[in-house]
Structures are given as structure tokens and as C-alpha cells.
Amino acid sequence: MGTHAVEEATDSATVPSRTGLLIIGASQSGVQLAVSLRALGFDEHITLLGDEDHRPYQRPALSKEFLQGMVGSESLIFRSNDYWTGHNVDLVKGEYIARIDKEADGTGVAHASSGRQFPFSRLALAVGARARKLEIDGSDLDGVLYLRNADDALALKSRVGDAQDVVVIGGGFIGLEAASSLQKMGKNVTVLEFGPRLVGRAVGDETAEYFLQAHRSRGLDIRLNATAARFTAADGGGEKPHGVAAVELQDGTVLPAQIVLIGIGVIPNTQLAEQLGLDVDNGVVVDRFALASDGTTVAVGDVANMPNPVPGSAPGERIRLESVNNAIEHAKVAAYSLTGHRAEYAGIPWFWSNQADLKLQIAGLSNGYDQTVLRRDTERGKFSVLYYRQGQVIAADCVNAPLDFMDVKNALAKGQNIPATAAADVATRLKIITTDS
């Protein structure tokens, strides 16, 4: 960490002298914004401020390699301290911005709950989202956990050793990744999914069913249409408070659990945007250039509700994407906007999720599809579903099939098509049958 005026301003009444761009959220998108700005020659001072006591780090491994102890915390760090110092970016850790005063010209002061103040000439919100909480009886018991940030992962890791039974609530990506990791670590894991299938709307029915069968065949206990009614503690006889001991389902089933991990989605952190009077609707509403409704503040990544970036999307169609790819690409668009350029956000979103030995890669957005083609190589353990709208490929879910993923992603990026009539034949690479629409 470099020394700088902001960090040395210990007196809450002292207004630091550095202004420039203030990026709130030392997240994937916040980091990318700073990096892209420097690559574009932005020469104003940048403050990259986060509310966690960690240097900016990558989240994806928290539910996988980090949880399993395969990588240490140092390997999650985005950039070396030398990089930040050398690029005139001040990192500020552990400051939670409670309120922002902003003028019509885009300048202002952000007030941290600690009393510190951060003046800015331009503001960027890369504040992400927070875990949605499950509020039922016993949800405040010790051992009822979430997994969104590094401290969550550390809390989970610190308890894993003493636990034998884990109940994961939510059969989405986070729940299934963590469940797979915990199972690999020798825990007895049960996944409760409230809905009739896994992974909500992020994948199609065939992929959801594939994952259900694949996980069950690997010994993971997955229960669909299952709702937790309450968490109960061990009968401690009135001594010290006890942690969670069991999950009681609505159908009366009781599952032992020394850890309950809840992964039921996220809520965008729009509090600051609301306080600033920016348009907010399932995220901070931004235009194609990542600009919020005041025309000066940029908002990027998970927190932004933006025009659908997929070329050819219906006019006015909006979307909020929670992914590394979006965090990076959206931040690049914002970096252009902040340097006086205009670069519309356009691209093919992609996603990945690694669960046990299942490597899921998703290219494009499948919503609105009217046809699917299954491309399954059972012998080699590869499974892909291609999604079509009016004969045009729009997306694919690929499991352990990176070549299919890359071919579909590249075809979508070039506006090409992969004829549905030929896509099922696993003996032919998709790239070979790709056509210029």
C-alpha cells in the first residue's frame, strides 16, 4: 500500500487534498475500471475504495479452490502493491461509504461511516450486490452462513473442520459449487432447492436436469421443492449459546447440520444511488455508456441495470448481469465514457461454474429461445445444449465441452449461425458447420 493523503487523514474533519476519480467498490469491476483508465491514458488521480479489510481480490475461487484449500489468499489478489503505486491509484480498505454529497457538475464528497471524507471530481459506483438473507426461525444462529466475500469464505473455512453435516440452501451456482467443494472435503452435504429444478433460470431444463443427475450420481443429496421452515440449535441446557444443529423442512423432515450455507441470490447495492437520487430499478439504471441518470456518475458490474448488450436485442430491453465477464467488459465501457470517448456496450455475455469435475461454460443469453439442440458425447463425458430463436443460435450451455463453448462464443461474436439441423452430430466440430447467417 502506498502512502497518500487520503489514508493519512486521520482527523475526520480533515478534507484530503486529492480528488480525481473516486471508485466505490474495490471489486472485479472497480479494479478493471482503474486498470482500463490507466491503459487509456487517464491521468487524474484515482482512489479505489472498498469496505472490506482486504486488498482487491478475485471472488470466483471462494466457493471452490480457496474453500478447498487448493489456493491461498495471496493468489486471489488482483494486482501487486507496486502496480497500484506505479499507476497512481490509491487503495483504501475498510471504509464504508454511508453518504455522498454531489453537485450537479459531478463533483462531491463521499462520507465514510468512520468519519473520513473522500472528495471527488467524478464518481464511479462498482458496489456490487449483497447476499439475499433468509429470514426464518433460527436464521441468526451461529453457523448459519452466506458466501459472498472473502470474510464469508474464511468464516466457512474456520468451521468446516468441526462439522460433519452441512445443509446448503439454494441450488444455484454458488450453492452447488460450495456443496461440491464441501462434499469433496468429506462432509455429508444436502442441498435444498425451493424450486422444481436446479440453477433457476440461468440454464435451460436439459442442463438443469443433467446437473441434477450428475450430482446425484456423485453422491450429493439434492432435494427439490424443499423449503426450510426453521433452524434449530442443540439443546444446551441453558449454558453457553449453541450453534445451529438441525434444519427442519416444511414437510417435517429434520436434517442434522452443524453448518447451514445459504445461497439464494443477491440484491444489488443501490443504497448510495438512491440517496443520490439516481434512477434505480433492480440496480442502478445506466445507459449504453454505463452512465447513470445524472449523466456523470458511472455504475458498472453487478449493480448496473443496463440495456441488453447482446447485438440485435429488442430496443429498450434491459438486463442486470452477475458475472466476471460483465464486470470486466462493462468497466471497459465506463473507462471510455470517463475519458471522453463513446463506446457502446455490445458483446456476448459468458459465464462459468465449476462443480466437482463438471465444468459448465455458458455462451450468450438463452432467454427467449424456441428450440434446443442436444449435443451429447456420452463416451467422453461431454454435454452441450444449443439454444435457438427463429433458427438462429443465441446461446449454449456446455459441460466439459470447452471446444463447443469456444465455437459457439466465437460464432455469436461474429454474428454467425450454427444450423440446428447439423449441430447434434458430435463427430463434427461446430466451427466446421458455422455459417455466415
Binding site: 470466483p60 475461487a61 471452490k64 466476471v324 470486466i328 462459468w352 470447452p402 471446444l403
Partner: protein
Amino acid sequence: MPTVHFTDAEGSVRDVQGNVGDSVMETAVRNGVPGIVAECGGSLSCATCHVFVREDCVSQLPPMEDMEDEMLYGTAVDREDTSRLSCQLRLTDELELFVTTPETQV
């Protein structure tokens, strides 16, 4: 200390010292070597950390697994015989590696 020499598509060179056990990709990204994108952070999902390894260095590296081999077919600049994904290359003691980054990764 292991050292990686990154040459970009225009020919300019960055020499970066790394830590044993880190990947070539991590070493590049942490120090801001521009030719490596690595969107997925090393989970072998994106093929944006593609490098061409100098021929006389290839034998110092571990063999390629199937997943890396498949991903390399999807790189932005077409693969060559010496192509690797740098997230799969771990630095070992005394390693001195010469790689060239492609013109683009996306």
C-alpha cells in the same frame, strides 16, 4: 527467482520475476503485463491468457492436459505448435521462460 520474459506482438519485452508455485498468468496479471487478459482468473474457462512459448523452453514445461488442449482451439489468435495457456504453467525454481503474447486475447 524464476523469471518470465514477455515479448508482445510488437516486440517490446517485459521481464518479470515471479514466485515459485505461481502461474505465468498470475505473474503477468499481478504486474500488469498488458498482453495477458485472464478473465477467468486461472480456472481454465476463457482462453485469454494464451502465450507462444519460445521453442527451446517448451521442454521445461509440464505436458498439456485435454481441457487446455481443447480451450486452445478457441483462442482469439490461432494456436501454433508452441501455444499454451499461461494459467497452466507453474513457475519452478530457476525457471527462465521466454514467451510471446498474441496480438489480441479477445
